[in-house]
Structures are given as C-alpha cells and as structure tokens.
Amino acid sequence: MKELKMTHLKSRCCGWRRLLFFALFAVCSTVAMAQGKVTGKVVDANGEPVIGASVVVKGTSTGTVTDFDGNYTIQNVPQNASIVLSYVGYRTQTIQVGGKSTINVTLEEDRQLLDEVVVVGYGVQRKSDVTGALTRVGEKELNTKPVSNAFEALQGKAAGVDITTSERPGTVGNIMIRGQRSLGGGIGASTAPLYVVDGVPLQAGGIETLNPRDIEAIDILKDASSTAIFGSRGANGVVLITTKHGQEGKTQLSYSGSMTFEKIVDKSPAMNASDYITWRRWAYYNSAPDKYTPGDQPTMEQDKAFFAGDETALANVMKGWSGGSWDGSKVTDTDWTDFVTQTGVTQEHNVSVRGGSKNLAGYVSFGYLKNKGTQKGQDYERYNINASADVQATKWFKAGGSINASYGVQQYGYSVPYGTSTGAKELYSAAKSILRYTLPYDEKGEIITQPGGSTTNTYSIIDEWTKSTDQRQNFRALGSFYAQIDFGNIWEPLQGLQWKTQFGPDFRFYRRGNFLDSSSISRAGGNNSASRSEERRFAWTLDNMLLYNKSFGEHTVGLTLLQSASKTNTENSSMSEVGVTIPSFLWNNMGAIDITDSQYQASMGTGLSESALSSYMARINYSFRDRYLLTASARWDGSSVLAEGNKWDFFPSMALGWRMEQEEFMKNVTWLDQLKLRFGVGVTGNSAVSPYGTLGVISSYWMPFSTGNSEIFVTNEPYYTSGSNSMPNKNLGWEKTTQWNIGIDFSFLKGRIGGTIDMYKSNTKDLLMLMSVPSLSGYPSMMSNVGKTKNKGIEVTLNVIPIMTHDFMWNSSLNFAWQKDEIVELSNGKEDDINNALFIGESISVFYGYEANGLWQESDAAEMAKFNENGASFTAGSVRPVDQNGDYKIDADDRVILGNCNPRLTAGWSNAFSWKGIELNLELQGRFKYMISTGGEGQLGMYQQREIDYWRPDNTGADWQKPVYSQAGGDPYAGLLGFKDASFIKVRNLSLGYNFDKNLLSKLGIGLSSAKIYVQGKNLGMLYSSVDFMDLDTGATFFNRGFTVGLQVDF
C-alpha cells in the first residue's frame, strides 16, 4: 500500500517537471513589448568581469545574465524601472534606470553570505552558526585526484574519519568515525556510519555506486549533538552527501576524463626456484635430522625423493646437478604470476551540464568507467546517470528532485578455489602459490595440471581465466524528491514558516552468475557447475517537515518539526546446479536439466527481509546578538527489529556556541577573524541488528531416509548451517551513546591560519551484544543489551597558507586525530569475555594470545628441556612463546593482550602548490599505533614460500623460524611471529596539473571557459611503513601502481 503511494508520487513529480518546462518556455517567448534597451558591464571589486550575474527588471520576469565578459543587454526596460543585479556571494544591488541606457555596476562581496553554508541534518546552516563538530570536504578537495568512489576522495581529508583501502574495482574500504563504540563484527551492532544523500538516509547500501564527480560536498557529522538529530542511526557518525544541482547563472558544460595505467607490484615475491629448493631441503632435514643431510649439503639421491611426483619438474631440478655438483642457477625459474598479470587500463569519462534560471535549475551528468584489471579475467564497467531539477513554481511553492542511477558489470575473475575455503581468492595469489621449480608445460607441450605433482594440492592456472566466469551486475537508483511551501509568501504574517515534504526511494538490484567449466582446475575432474543469485532491495524514506525561521530584534529563532517513516525490503533468490549439458548455456538456461534428478544437484532458495523505522523530531536553533548560539533537539524513534514494548526510545541533544570575535572587547583584535567556542552533548542510538531476532525463528532442513526425504524442524543444527539461530530476546532494546564535545574554531590573519580543535568523550550503554548463553537452552547465544564502552579523542584540523604571492600560492591542510576506546562492562558485568577477546579496560578490538620472544637457539637447550618435559616440543630454530607465569608450560594462562586493531592515531596532510596555471598536489595519509596479524609463515616445506629470512644453524638471527616438512602442523607457534606493530605514512596522491590561460581559451572562440590537464601517480609508495613486506594500507602483499593522465574542460 505504502509503496504504491510512493511510486504514484514519483510519477506525478516527473509530470510536474515536464509541465513546468513547457510553461517556462512559453513565458520566455511571449514577454516582449515596451520601451528602452539597457546595456552594461558587471565587475567585481578587482575589476574582473562577473560572469552569469542575474540582471532583472524589478517586479517583472524580464531579465538576463551577464556573459563571459560580464556584459549584459536587456530590451524593453521602462524608463522609470529599477534593475536588480545579483550574484551568489555578492550583495544584491537595485539601481534606478532613470533613462540611462548604460549601467555599469561593481558588485561588492557580501561577507555574511560568503560565510560557507554547511549541511546539517534536515537543513543547512551558516558555518559560523554551527554548534556541533563537523567537517566539510568540498568539491575542490574531492576532485584533487580521480577516484572511483567517494570514499577514496575522503581518505585523509577529515580528522577523525578513518578509511581503509580496497583495491578490487567496485568494492570500497571500511570507514570508521571517531573510533569504535559498538562491538560490530557479527557479535554486536554495526559500526558503520549513516549515509544521507540529498537528505535521504541510505538503506539499500552505501555510497560506492555514486559517481564521485557528481558530488558537490560531503559533510561529516561527528559529535552526538549534531548526529542525535538522526536519533537511532546517528551513533557511528553521519556522512551527508550533497550532489550537484543546477544553479542560477550561466549554463556550464563540463567534461572530465582520465586514463589510468597500472601494474601489480609485489612487496613480498615468491622464492625463486633455487632458493626454494634449498629451503625445502632444510625443511626435510629439520623434520628428520637423523635421516637427511642439512639443506646446504644436498645430495642428488635425496633431491630425487624430495622433488618427486612431477617428472618435468624433477628433470628441471636435476638440471642443477648436471655439472656433477649442485648449481641452483641452472634450474629454470618459473614466475607463474607472469602468466596472469597484464597492464590494467582504466578509462573514465564524465559529461555534465549545469544551469538554470530564476525559476528552474537543472543538472544532468553522464559518467562512464571501464576498468580492465591488472589480473587476467578481472574487468569492471560502470555507467552513471544523474539528473536533477529544481522548480520554483509560484513564489510560495518549490519542488524538485534528483535521480542518481548506476549500472555496473563486474567480471570478478577467478574467485572459487575448489573444495577449500582457505585457498587463494584471486588468480594472482593462486599463481603465486605454485612451485617455481615446476614448469607449465611438459615436453609434449601439454599443460601440467598439477605442477609438482599432487603433493601440494595446487593446480596450474594456465588458461584458467577462460574457464571460470563470475559475472556480477549491479543496478542502483537513488532518488530524492521534495516539495516545499513557503507560507510567508502566501500570507505575510506567516513569514518564515515553511512546509517541506521529502521522499527518497533507494533501489538496488544485484545479480551474480557463476559458471565453472569442468575443465577448470576449481572443479578438479568433477562436473561443471552453474549458479545464479539475485538480490533486490527497495527502501524508502518519507519526511514531513515544518520549518520556522524568524528574527526578533537581536533574537533569531529556528524551529524544525519532523515526522518520518522509512522502510526497507530485501528479497533474494539463488539457484545452482552441476552438470550443465551444454556449457555455453552458462547460468542462462538452468531449466535445461532434469531438476528432479539428484545427479544435477539442483537447488534453489529465496528469502525476504523487511524492517521499518518511524520517527518524530523537534529542533530549535536560537541565537542572540549573533554571538550566543543554542541548538537543542529531541527525537523519538521506533524500530521494527526491536522487541515489542522496547521499540521506541528518546534521543535528546543540546549544544551551545559562543562567537567570541563578535564581542566588543575582541573587536580591536585585528588579527583575529574568528574564534568560536562550542560545547555539545547528545544521545544517539544503534539498533543495527538483523530483523526477526526477537521472534523465535527456528530452522527447517531435509533429512534423508531411504523412503524419501523428510522436512525437519530444529532449533539449531550446526551440521546443516554455520549460522546459528539466536535465542529470541523479548526485551531487546536500543544501544545508546551519550557524547560530550568541546570544540574551538579559529581563523587568524585574514584566513592565513585557520582550524578547528575538538575534544570528545562518549559513553555507550546497553551495548547490543551477541551474548553467549549455555547451550543447554538449545541456542549458543542471544542478542542482548549488555555492557558498556567508553571512548575519547581529540581532533585537530589546521589550514594554513604559508605562501601567498601574486603568482605563487601554497595551501596546506593538516589534520590528525587521536582516539581511544575502552570496554567498561560486558555481559557478565566487570568480567572479561575471553571467547570473544573482549576485556574490561581494554580497547574493543584487540589481539589476544601468546607473545613471541623470537626464536629458540641452541644455547637455550636447558631452558627448552624444561618445557619439553611438560609436553612441548621446542627445538633450536622454533618459535619461542613467552611463558608469562614461568611455569614452563605454554597454556592459556600465558595469553596476553598483544595490541589493538584500530589505529590510535590517524593523520592526513594535503598540500596544494600553484604557480600561474600549474598546480602541484601532494597528499599524505598515515595510520599509527595499531597491530595487524599477518598470519606468520607456516613453513611446512611443501608449499611455495615467499622470500624470507629463515632460521638455519648458520643464520640464527633470522626473522622467521626454521621450516619443517609437514602436511599440516609445522611449528604450532608460527603464527605468533605474524603479529606486527603497524604504522605507515603513505603518499596518497601526487599530481601535477596545468590550467590553461583563460584569455587564451576565450580566443579559441569555441566557448571554452577553462581547461586543465593533469598527471597523477597512483600508489606511489610509503614514506614510512613499519612492515616492509606488506602494503599496510591495502592489507595485501601486492598492490597496483600506476599513473593517470586526465583532462577537465568547462564550456
């Protein structure tokens, strides 16, 4: 019912727009009669022409805009009329014509208006009036480099906003604002922020599908006094995105495009054949020192046994013995990654048109992205369309809307290692794991399918990119439509009163098709397999707002009342089968098999998930003498996913601001432009848990009896599924965070130095947590409101202009944020939850386990013996765990907290140098003081190994333990060496651009108003990294490096 109404509204809205277009055209063409012609030139204080300024005959709809030289001409101006000249950022002037035919005007900047306008929840505010902690990243900053999504553009730009990198095209990194408060990670409420696009909270995915070129600005609300306006969804911060809309002024046509060329760079390449052979010999020796010779004393007989199983490979190893004694350089070294890599080429094109008159403004853009990956078989193509229009229908009614649509097709490439969940997930890793002493083809030229023989369970990747198809399509359409009534323009006494209704539908369709040919290594001799799955999400939000803004003398009051409802609906379906009769069917003719025949393993499934949220909100903004500011808000939210009786809750906030520079006693401090103190407190909520959790969901499966399959019901049956049903919690309620924020905004020396400092502290209670319960209940866990966390931090942003001459300018912006989160209470009060590695008084995400104290050495024999008496099997060269309690037993009591997973400190530093038309941008980003687990080096002697410094009797100071030949096992403590302290500073962007001279461009006569070309380095490298074999930013040992050339032109 609801949805029907919405679609109706949508179509009507489009109808309106079309009608208005025609009406406007009609008006424009019919108005023409009366008297004189007025011409003139509009310039700014510096004498520069003002382009696109509006010139209107007062009280009529007759008007025009200034051209490229600031000139204008208006026909038929009555002698006694006045003309009104206006332009954004300048004071509007009204001038009597008085018979003159030439009126030249110098527009003055309006300081008041120039004050940046920022987006806050449910409205905009002048930045100087803002009382909360927020950061704005504008179009200019967003466009310093070409990015494939808005996240990348934001990285390092905003203090307290930590964003990680994902390299696979079409995927995005993780974002965390002001650290962690909720448990997240599948055991608690989500830590993701709320995204709001043009006033519409997103519910069917994030912002990765938006074309970053369509984004005007991103405002990030960080403290609770500003996020509480979003109540139950504001706990992890709010990211407000404003897309480009049309604006009054000259119509602008823009094109931007870029080409990027990339190659894979591997920070920890695999051991070459010769090194590997030596390393494997050591592994054998270490496994049975009494049977084999040490790795540096090889024998041919041993090698025949060590490298048996693949005759071609063994013959290759034997080449090393061809001279009688061992010479590893004679062995052919196969770098398998060469077969699967290619130069990645990305091209991106965007065309947009933007313009508008007084009553109608519009923006249309089209974007295209094609990305050929650096690994064979990976490919991504995306189309973006964005259209928006705003119409002032009458002086009291305005309506508008925008649609953002994107369609992407991703060839995911190799993704499914056969029969294991631990194998390589992409072709490059799969290739890297193949033994380098092996060869791809035998002497007859045929592919060797298991290089090295069946010892290692690795398969050749030759031609694999043609045998495995994984295609993912994604369509997303995001709308935002509004209508508003200005009552003051209907009836004067109601001046300042507005009604606004906003509707935001969000639609997403995802389809994945997967086909693995029977010849694919991932099927290992089985039948081919096909699967197809779909997910359709539809979500909408409807907001009704009553707004009132009014000044009474020195008092200014703003009031916002909101009623809001939103709903999401997700449907999914999937089907799969094996043994597709004709492989070219792929997943497109799945009914062609006999689905009742079990040999085809046909299966299908569908699902539905719905949730709803209903809200009321009231907010008041009050300022006295433009220097004492107050914001207070109250929001009530009801959520469907919570238990009956606990669905509703209340989220208040309050903030105060003091603009000190406005005070009389500060007026004569000339170097001070701005000094504002802010204080805010607010309560936000989090109910980001799955639907139906309170309803007693059980499971149904099938049980095979020889008489047929029977449907069965069980509460939990891990045999059938890894996801268990949680015990229904009939009292589940909101997780609530209270946050205090103190901030200061300052600007000195006419803007040469400016910045913001914020300090915050927050307490979260009724933590949503998947609490372990005794399995006697039939359930392993129950989602509960238990526990408390707290969190504090400081954020500093500094903007300085160290050099500013006529030609040369250096703009520098530095931000850093420090934060620390801490667990206060858990499900059993002040009791650690060791199973989930949660500890009272520690950070929420930590590594917990044994500490490593390097490696055991021969000289430690006596010490090792004491452990070995207690059942350990330490030998020289194996990992030495720390026996914390000194009982000569490594057991659970020796575990300690090793480090925290989230960085304590994040920082970004952007620099822009411009000299005449040349621009140089340098952006650095860093994350500091956290820990990662690289997993250590298993060193089982049988699988391919990356180049490492391993322990040998003649290399006892090695980084890693000695290899031991083993199927599964090896050194049980090998993983401990993988915990690494992480900190890095990365060159996020280095680009050089040239802006063509505008005068030169205008002489071209093709209407070009600006043009820029640039070249940019991508992933140039780290200035500092605490781990050398890994890119700490992408979290992988290999990454793409390349460069981009691009062009931006405006007409």
């Binding site: 029969g419 045929e446 010892t455 089985g526 039948n527 319960v773 059942g871 575990r895 096992g969």
Partner: protein, 713 residues
Amino acid sequence: MKYINNKIVCGALSMLALLGTTSCGDEFLKEDAGHKVTDALLEDEAGALKMAAGLYGNIRWHFGYEWAYGITLYGCDEFTNGADLTSEPWNTYDNRLNPLDCTPALGAANKNCPAVSALWDEMYYGIATANLVIAKAVNVTNEDARNKALGEAYFLRGYNYYRLFAQYGGVVIQTEPSNGEIKKDYTRASEDETLSQVISDLENAYKMLPKNKWRGNGTWTKYTAAHFLAKALLYRQSERCASWASKYDKSADLNRVISLCDEVITACPLAADYWDLYAKWTGVDCPNEGLSEILMAAEHNEDKSTQGRFGNRTYNYFDPQFSNFSGGWVQRGQYIGGMDFQRCRPTEYTYSVFDNVNDARMWKTFKTVYGLNNAAKADADVIAENGITEDQLPNIGDEGIIFILNKKSDHRFDGEPYGTFGRGGVAHSFVNPLTGKWVPNAFPTFMNGEYVLFNYGVSGNTATSNVFCGINKTADGSRTGEKGDAHRDVIMARTGETYLVKAEAQVRLGDYQGAINTVNVIRARGQWKDGENRSYYTDGSMAFLKAEGGMSDNSTATATSVKKNKDKAGKVLNNTEAYYASMTHKNTYYLSTGIEETTAASDLQIKSYSQLPEEDEAVLSAIGATSDYDRMLNFIFNERTRELLGEWNRWDELARTGLLVKRAKAFNPEAAPNVQDRHMYRPIPQKFIDTLQNPDGTNLSDADKKAWQNPGY
C-alpha cells in the same frame, strides 16, 4: 485565488497528517515473520512431528567433520596421527588438549582442530530439540504417532546424554525446554544421576519405539534402544563407575544386559558376510544399507537438499597420503572411494592383532593395493634408476602401491631378497615375486622382527608418517569430484557390537567360557568360507560403475579428469579408465602370508578361554594382563578391534573400562608420553563455564569455576 491556495495547503496538510498517523501506528513497526519458520509452528501436529524427524538431523553431525575421529579414535590404541596434525592434541594429549577450544592462536595446526566444546554443544542442541518434542507431543492427537515421536525424543536424549556421560562424566541435566527464559545458574549432576537419566530415557525409548523401520533405513527401533540400554547398564558396572556403582546390583544389571542383547541378536541377525557391511557398498541407499544387523546409522544420500554443510566427510580420514608419497604413480580422484587426508594411521598393535591367515575381516577391511593409474616416469628412467629389467616394468592397472601385512615373526623379507622396499620418489627395486613386476611403492609391515612400516613416510619422521595401510569402511564411489562429499550412511551401532557387549557382560559375571562362545559367533562370520577367493578385494569404490556392481554409473564416469592420469603413451585417462586402473580387485594376502593358495574354509573358533590366540597372548603380555578377568576383558577389546576397527567409539569404550591409559601407553607411541588418568574424562569446555552465573546474577568465583572442571584440568 487565495481561497484556492488555502484549500490546497489545508488539503496537503491534512493528507500528510493522515499519512503520518497511518505510518507511525504500531502496525507499521510490527514484524511479519510469515515467511520464516518460527516456534509457533510447533503448536500443531505436523510441526511437532517434523521436529521429531529433526532429531535424526542431530546424529549426522558426528560424521560431518574432524570430530568424527578426533574425539572417538584418536588417543587410543588402534590409530595414531599421520603426517596431518589437524587434530593432533586429541591424539597426543599434549597441553593443547585443555578446557579451551584449540585454535591456531592456541597452537592448533589449523582451524579445523575439533573444539572441546563442539560435542558438548551439539549434544545439548539435540537434547533441546528432544525436550521440545516431549513438551509439544501433546499436540499430536494420534496416539501411535505420538508414541513414535516420544520414543524418538527419549532415545535421542538418552543417546546424547550417554555420549556426554562417556566423554565428560557427570553433566548438567536439562529435561525441559527453555521456553525463551535465559538461565545461567546450573548445577552439575553426579555421574550416578547422569547415567540414571540415560538409562531412564533409554528405558522409555525401549518401551515406546516400534519394532519396524517405519521411516526406512536409519529408523530408531526398539532394538536400537535395547542395544544402547544394554551399553548403558554395562557402563554402570564398568571400571569408571566403580567408586559409586556398588549400590546397583551387579548381576541384575549385567543379566539385563545379556537379555537385552539376546533380544537384539534374535531380532536383528548378523549380515551373512562381513564385507556386506562395509566393503560391498554399491551406491546411494543400496540394499546393504538396509541390512538387519544395522541398528543405527546416520543417513545420507546425494540430494543437494539433504547435504548440509559437510555431507559425509568420513571418506577423508583413513587413506594414507598416496597422492603425495607415491611419486605420481597413484593419483587421487573420485574413482578411488577415499581421499588421502591420512588422519588415522593404524598402529603396530592394529596390524598385529589380526590372524592374517585365517581372519577374513582383516582383508575385507584393509586396502592393501592401489592400482597404478598414472604412468609417472618414462620406462627407460624407471629401469635405470631402480635397476630392474624391462619385463619387470609395470603398466597402468598393475600394482601401484602395496602394503604387505605380514607378521612380526615373518622373516621372508629380511635382507630384502625381492629387491629393496620404498616409495615412489626413492629408488628401490622390489619386484613382486607373485607378479614379476616392479612395484613403484612397496612396503612391508615387519622386517627383521621389527615394525618398519612407519619408516617410509615422506617427512622421515616416524611419529608423523604418511605411509600406512588404511581401512576401507568409508570408501564411497558415488562422489562426483576429487573432494566431492560422500553419500553413504555411517553405521553407529550394529548387532556385531551387541555380541561383544553381551560377551563383556558375561566376562564381568565371570562366565568366561560363555563369553568365548558369544565371541565365536562373530568370529565364525569372520572366517574364510569354503571356496572363497582369499586374494579378492573390493570396497565402496565399486559404486562408481554399474558394471562393477554399482547401483548406477557415476555422473562423472565418462568425464576426463584434470589430466592427472595418463598412460604410457601419454593418453589421458577418463574417470572410468582411471577407476579400472586403480581398482585391481586384488589384495596382498598371499604375498603377506606366504601360504600356498587355498580356497578351503578357515577356522577362527576359540576352544577355551584359557587358550587364546597367539595374537591375543602377545597383546596380553605386552600390557601385563594376567588374571583371568584382565585377560578376558582385554581379549574382548582385541576382538572389538578386529570386528569394529574404526567404528567411532573406541575412546568411549576404553575410557569406560579404564583401559585407555594402559593401552594407549602400550600401543600408541604418540599418545604414550602424555596420557594419564585424568584423560579418562574430557575437560569441561571453558566456553560453557564462562557463561554461568550464580542464582543471584553474580559471577562465579574462580573457585566455583574450578569446581566445575574435571580433575586435573
């Protein structure tokens, strides 16, 4: 104009107000779970019966993953670990076997190491479902249907408490559904109370379950309940209960055991031939899965809908790592019924305890030959490297790997007169005297009076050898990929064991000759029959092809594998050809025993309890069993090995009788250094203890927590 404007405004306002009221009512925030299965469905008859059928889903868990062997076969006398150390702590009893789940962070080789909490949780999930069925059975109006459902619920609850009792001792007894109430204060029942709960549930099941397999194969019947009731009563009179069980009348318990066993033996007779049970598995739901001897089995078939997460993974655990050590001569694939994950390596004891000449069960259990299914090396190289002649070259379908299951006293191979033994990668010259062909992988069990089989492993470390002769009880030729899941049922109880339960009860009553007579019945079945070809071999791989007796051809039979199998001409074998090459239908009987070919019947009958077979005497002397009772109890356990090797309950049985430590120390070299008395009980999972609170909501003190734990952990 103004009037109209006002009208529009008022209209819009009232419309929006209306929208507001409808959208924010309770209805809007109400969740509709109509498309979900919720506990509300249990309130009617159909739902309650579906939940009863759900009890059967619970027992499939045992064979889905590594815990299948980790908690039942490791750390005993029959098997030790191969080179794969996934579940090593369960075999070696080292520090990592403690109340915490062993994860890689705690030193596990990988994340598949069975958690100590795994069985605990799973058994309680089943018990919770059983409790619900018992509570909801009132919704079933048909009395017959209700009794069946109740019988099944009592059975599973009794069975699961039995498994908990066997592993942990006394546990928490929960016999009511939780009804959504979260409870965190529990008390641990005594061993006596726990076993009494088992017996009482199984008594109820025995009364209520029908005699016929009305659901088809796998249905729990009165006899399934009788078998486990007999085991539970036998448990009460076993050594682990000695400290408290004296209040129960020993002879009453044991005589009840005997009468229950007799009831089962009569109603559910033994299969005619030992290999009908395992080796002659011909396909999904084949006739042998319906043998009367099978009292309980975890059901599987090949339907995608029933597969679950794991299917039947037991086909992975018993084969040696032939794809690794064979030098490429024997490749793996679905045409060989078992994957070579080499988890369970038989010990010297296991090979020794069989009479290799007369006991057909040995040759119907061990897979001694793998056919050569890939020409791994050029002929000329084979001749040059191994020092053999051209006519000794083997071809596809000849012996690729052989294990000689000889005796310690066998000296025929001393000095390696037929050429040297070894695996594929190592030059060796063994030519099988019976075939005249060089065998790429040939291994004796004993040489020079020494156990040598564990010397041939690739790593060179005898504690982690990947070369051993494995057993075939899980082989499955219906798998459709190299790592495709298996589809055969897993037998959890059968009349063969019932005989041994009865015999043990007789031993405990002092009726030693009666026990011998009982055991002689199953030994009779284990004899070679008159006219039988003793060198013939088969296993469940035969389900691969209809021509081999399978129910149907495997759907991948004509597919070409990933080109791993080639003949000497370089031609790639398809799966059918690879099957024929791998399955020689031959064992090493005559090579292993050295006896003349014969088709006469053999004799395994024991005349008197004072004259036990020499294999048994060797075991008895190794562990120092001298009294009649000790000798006979250990004899029963030797016979259990011969009859029930690898059948998923060895640890429970050894712990029950207190033989665990003694026999593991004597026969499992990897367990021997660490195993001690405390290991007769598993640690109570810390994960469970940590969820507990006192009745007043306060946390347990450290002392309280310690009190929950079994001694020594």
